[in-house]
Structure formats: structure tokens, C-alpha cells
């Protein structure tokens, strides 16, 4: 039905009406005192959300832009970068590092698995000459729904003396993620995820250790240059013309997050992800990430039952129930489907999603105890 579509993909995610209406307002001048006021509020609230004392930069760019903003401000040609890879987005760090001229080494794990801290510790122990300057990792891997233990991994990286660069694109807001407390040196995220606004903005926070390495970077990217962004951010401004309408929407969304409380938002995402996981398991579906403790709280990847195809599931979910769920990516295409529970999602949405998926599987002839998924979700949410 027209205008009824509900997004359960890993982004874009649902956007509150109050944010959409703010975005629809006529743009104001980006050098006006009114806009500077908006920026002041946005920058302060971002420090709250990121739980950091450092400046949070906002780029007019997608999440990949912020990933480039991280590495293109740190890497010199020939630098050794270790990339911890859980899937596509872990691999994206490796591609960006290569594009900067780095020597890239990867530690890769099987689909749905996460990095074993002891494997990382052992590899770094071999690096006796401290050649590894940077270690990249992914908090919530959007392509599989697996989530690394960022706190432990960053501690090991810090002990070695390397700089940790973390993709928090689908984790910030959804999962506990504390750059200052955990010693994450650079953290990036994106607007169309936990931040409840449309795509087009992305975020970066770097600490003093990262800045030290940045100062040695010979050719930082001009568009993403940290120095220009720090100077402007501290003056409640932006170096270049920002996407003013999206900033106005972000301002409203951040106020909602602040009112809600970041801890409550984290807890709600965890509750939703676990309710969804257990509901799906209760009707016999297999999850890509087996262990609850290794699961993202924003994306759940699911294998279709034997004999039922992913395209059929996605088609019926969309056509009959107006719910958009994601396919697998690359080699996982048509092998798994992914359900996002990220951002502007309430308990009702989990019951809705499980109910619609039950109806879809019922229509496709899957044999299971109808209603079992919904009742499991209801009990978990209670």
C-alpha cells in the first residue's frame, strides 16, 4: 500500500515524523546565527551520545565517507595496517587503507563469527618492531549481524601501541559503545542508522593519540581534513556547506535521544534484538550468528528454511505486509535475509515483524507452530 512501507533493513531506518517535518523546512543560510545555534546544540548532544569529551565531527557524506575521513587522515604510503574482518564492512576498511597506499594485512573469520581477542593478541605479539600502526575493526558487522567485543580488542590494540579505528556505523546508539572509557582511538558512525535521520551525514570522533598520528600524515584528504573540521566544530560552524536540512533533522533526533537516555536506547535495542532472535529460533529458523553474546543489537541475519527461497520471503514480506527486509550481500545474496531493528523502533514493531514473518512462512508452506514466534516475542518483551 502506498506510503505504508516499513523499513527493517540495516539503513535507511525509520525516521520520526517530527524529524521529517523539520527536514522539510526551507533551508536557512549555513553562515547565519540561527544555524550556528543548531550546530552548537548538535555538537553538544553528539558528545553526549558518543559519551566523549572530544569533538565529534559531522561530515556531509555517507558512513563510507566517515571511514575515509578516518584513514585518509592517518595513513602515509607504506604504513602497515591490520584489518580485522568479519564481512563486507570489515573488508571496506581494508580497501580504503589500500587506496591510501597502506600495506594491508587481514585477519578474517567465518561468516557470523567474531574476532577472538587471543588471536589478535598473538598476532600483535609477533610484531616486535611495532610496524603495525593502525588496527581497523567493525563493531556491528552489517553484512552478517555479528558484533565484536570492541572493548577487549581496543584494550589489546592500545597495549601494543597501535591506533584502533572502529566502524560504529550500525552500533552507536544501538549498542553500548564508549570511545573514551574503552580507549577507541577513532570511531565513526552514520546518520541513517541509530540516529533516526535519513542518510547523508556521518560522524567521527578521534582522541589525542589519533591526533598525534594524524600530525604525521603528509596528505590528509582535503574534504575530510580533521584540522579544518576541528577548527570549524569548535566555532559552531562547518568548513564547507553542510546539508543544512539534515542537520536540522539531526538536531530534533538528538533531542529525542537525549530525552530517552543513551543507556535506555542501548538497552531497548538489546531487548528488541534478543526478542527477535529468540522468536525466530522458536519457530525453527537458523540464525547466522549462533551465540547471543556475539550478536549485533541492530541487525539479525537469518537462514531461510529448507526449500523456501530468500527472494520469496522478501517479496511476500513486502507485497503482503509492506515490510522491507534486506537480502544478503555478495556471496551471501539469496542465502540469508537480514532484519534491522535499528533506531526508531518500538516493542510493537518487533511483534509486527515476527507476526508478518510467520504469515509469510505460512503462505510459503513452511511447517511450524503458528503463533509460536509471536508468543515468544511477547514474553521476551514483557
Amino acid at each position: 500500500m502506498r506510503d505504508k512501507s516499513f523499513l527493517m533493513i540495516p539503513g535507511p531506518t525509520p525516521v520520526p515524523e517530527s524529524v521529517l517535518l523539520e527536514i522539510a523546512k526551507h533551508p536557512i543560510g549555513h553562515r547565519s546565527s540561527e544555524f550556528s545555534k543548531i550546530l552548537e546544540n548538535v555538537y553538544a548532544n553528539l558528545k553526549y551520545v558518543f559519551q566523549t569529551k572530544n569533538d565529534v565531527f559531522v561530515y556531509t557524506a555517507s558512513g563510507t565517507g566517515a571511514m575515509c575521513a578516518a584513514l585518509e587522515n592517518l595513513i602515509n604510503e607504506g604504513d602497515h595496517v591490520l584489518c580485522l574482518v568479519l564481512g563486507n564492512f570489515g573488508n571496506r576498511w581494508a580497501k580504503i587503507a589500500s587506496s591510501c597506499g597502506a600495506v594491508v594485512e587481514k585477519i578474517e573469520v567465518d561468516t557470523g563469527e567474531v574476532i577472538d581477542p587471543e588471536v589478535l593478541r598473538a598476532r600483535l605479539a609477533q610484531d616486535v618492531n611495532k610496524e603495525i600502526k593502525i588496527v581497523t575493526l567493525t563493531h556491528s558487522e552489517t553484512s552478517t549481524g555479528a558484533a565484536n567485543d570492541v572493548k577487549t580488542l581496543c584494550k589489546i590494540i592500545r597495549e601494543h601501541g597501535a591506533i584502533s579505528v572502529v566502524d560504529g556505523v550500525t552500533s552507536v546508539c544501538a549498542m553500548e559503545c564508549k570511545p573514551d572509557a574503552w580507549g577507541i582511538d577513532v570511531l565513526v558512525s552514520g546518520s541513517q542508522k541509530g540516529f533516526m535521520i535519513p542518510p547523508g551525514l556521518s560522524f567521527l570522533v578521534a582522541n589525542d593519540r589519533a591526533w598525534e598520528l594524524h600530525e604525521k600524515c603528509k596528505h590528509p584528504s582535503f574534504y575530510f581534513d580533521w584540522d579544518a573540521y576541528r577548527k570549524s566544530t569548535r566555532a559552531n560552524s562547518t568548513p564547507y556547506t553542510p546539508a543544512v536540512n539534515l542537520f536540522a533533522g539531526l538536531n530534533v533526533a538528538l533531542e529525542m535521544i537525549k530525552q530517552d537516555g543513551i543507556e535506555n536506547m542501548n538497552a531497548r535495542h538489546k531487548k528488541h534484538a534478543m526478542a527477535l532472535r529468540h522468536a525466530l529460533q522458536s519457530i525453527g529458523l537458523e540464525l547466522v550468528v549462533k551465540d547471543d553474546n556475539k550478536a549485533s543489537h541492530s541487525i539479525t541475519s537469518v537462514l531461510p528454511p529448507d526449500g523456501i527461497s530468500v527472494p520469496d520471503i522478501r517479496k511476500i514480506m513486502k507485497e503482503d505486509f509492506d515490510i522491507v527486509i534486506a537480502n544478503g550481500q555478495n556471496k551471501l545474496k539469496d542465502k540469508i535475509f537480514r532484519m534491522g531493528t535499528l533506531g526508531f523502533v518500538c516493542d510493537r514493531d518487533i511483534i509486527t515483524a515476527v507476526g508478518a514473518l510467520e504469515a509469510t512462512l505460512y503462505k510459503l508452506g513452511y511447517k511450524f507452530e503458528l503463533g509460536k514466534g509471536v508468543s515468544t516475542a511477547i514474553k521476551e518483551l514483557a
Copy 2:
């Protein structure tokens, strides 16, 4: 008065209601067939607007992002780049080229002046070893309101064998600008200008000669990489998550431009700029660009009358008449004010702007024949 503000700055510019309402719609998935349809339409209409057979890339980034996308896909460390500088935005090319490790040489002119083609020809004639690989230039210099003769300059650059890289941020849509017909090798523009949508998207078109140089570029920017963009653009997709709401707005705006006709849009901008210039001159104001033939059709820079300050003029225009005009930039701050007539502007707006400026100057005690500016504008527009 709240919500009554009218933007006459060089961007963001006024946005049609139908575009704002489209932007306010809930985002759709960027990998959906619905969004692919929007992209197909957008890409086709951009070729019409840019009057090119080449692909037009759309970056989720501001105009400066597209400028980086140009040079970061062409320059290798040590390359010689000649920058033709009329003001701040010509200088921005020089800064970006430096950030890429280029050896940068500038030809600079006085405020309000443009590049003399014979000066360029003479400089290139000295470059007997063809060391100059790239020449950057600005079509409409936003900081002064001067406009280069891009057609003639690009012909000279082509004859020398260098690649021309043109900033069309405030010229495309507003002024005749034909990359294919004029031999512009790389042309960039931005969304919040002639395209009548809010900031956040920018455009780039490159021809085969530029692609040849790109193929020798060792470390193209990952986020702005031409190869990734060409592949995606041809598949009616984008390499990374695009600002889907802004794309939806762009789709509506491009349909408006197509219905209007690009030649008509160019002609209207010229008529408005000339009417404004002559109206201001008729009440004794001095313009930064003296010669109509060297004037931008999107921005007019004006010197305040003796004894009247730029901040006072801007303040009264805003507080009494809800019209936002721009200050000068950097060394021109408080020395000039700038009036944009770019994008969604009709004849009425020119009469309005001149009338409000007359009222402002009257209040500030400037002695002139009240009504003369408006009557001049009315006659010019007729």
C-alpha cells in the same frame, strides 16, 4: 517574521515547495527497484542539464566534495597544476591540488576581474616541455561575482594538451555551460545552487581525455573514486548509501528544469542579473564587477555607499524585510555585500529585492531618487 525568510545568498538558495515535500517523505531503501527508477530518471535528466553524453556522477557531499572528486582522481604527487584564481573559490582549487601533493602555480587577478585569455595563452606557450598537466578555473566566482569566459579558456587549455577542470558550482543552470561543446574536461557543480534543492549533493562530469589522465592516478580517493561511480551510475545505482531524500527532491527539481528548458533557465538568470545590476547602478551603487560581460548571472557583488556599513544593510534587509543577503568573504568581509539570484527565482523576486534594498538605504539615510531602482528593474524585465 517566522518562516518568511527569503534567501538571496549564493547558496543555499530558495527551494520549491514540491521539492521540500518530496524531501519530507519517509526514506526508501537505496537498493530497492523504486530508488533505482529515481536514479535512472535523475541520471538521464542530469545529462540533459549538463548537455553531455558522458555520465554525470552524483556525490553525497557538498560542492567542495565534488572539487576534491575532480583533483583526487587526477593528480599524482609532484604533478604541475596551474590554477586560475579570481577569488576564494579559485584559491580552493589551489588548496585541494596542494593537498594532493601537486606543485601549484597560480595566475591571480584583482577582485572583480577575470582571466585574460591572452595571459593564459602566453603562460602555456612558455611551458615548452608540457609540464602543466592540469589547469583549474572557476566559471562563476562566488566570492566576487565575476565570470570567466570558460569557452575560450578551455579551448586554449585543450590546444596546449592540458586537462581543464572547471568549478561550475554557481554557474550550471544559471549560465550557459556546455562541457561537450566547449571541451571542458572535468566540470563540477552543487545541488544548493541552480538545482533548486538543499545542500548535500554535488555533481561531476568528466570526458575521455580526463579519464585517460585518471587511469594514471595512483591513489584515487576511495569515497569519490570515478571507477566506482561510473560502474554504479551505469547500473542506476550508487557505490555507497546516498542521501535518498535529497535524491528524491532532485528528481522533482530536474523535472521542473526540463519542463522549463535549460536555455530558458540560462536566459532568465541573465535577465535577472542584468536587471539587478542596472537597477543598483541607477541608484548610484558601485558594483564589484564593472563590465556586464564579465559578470556572473547568479551573484552580484555590491559596494555600500560612502558612510553606510555592510552589516547595517544586511541587518535591515533581514530584520525589516526578511531577505538574507551575503557578506563579503575574508578580506572582503564588511567591504561588499553579495546578492544571489540563483535557481528558483522569478521576475517578482528581482523587483522585491531592489525595492527592499531601496527601503533599506532610505532608512540608513542614503540620498538617491527613491523608486529609481525599482523602475529601472521593471523596465529591464519587461
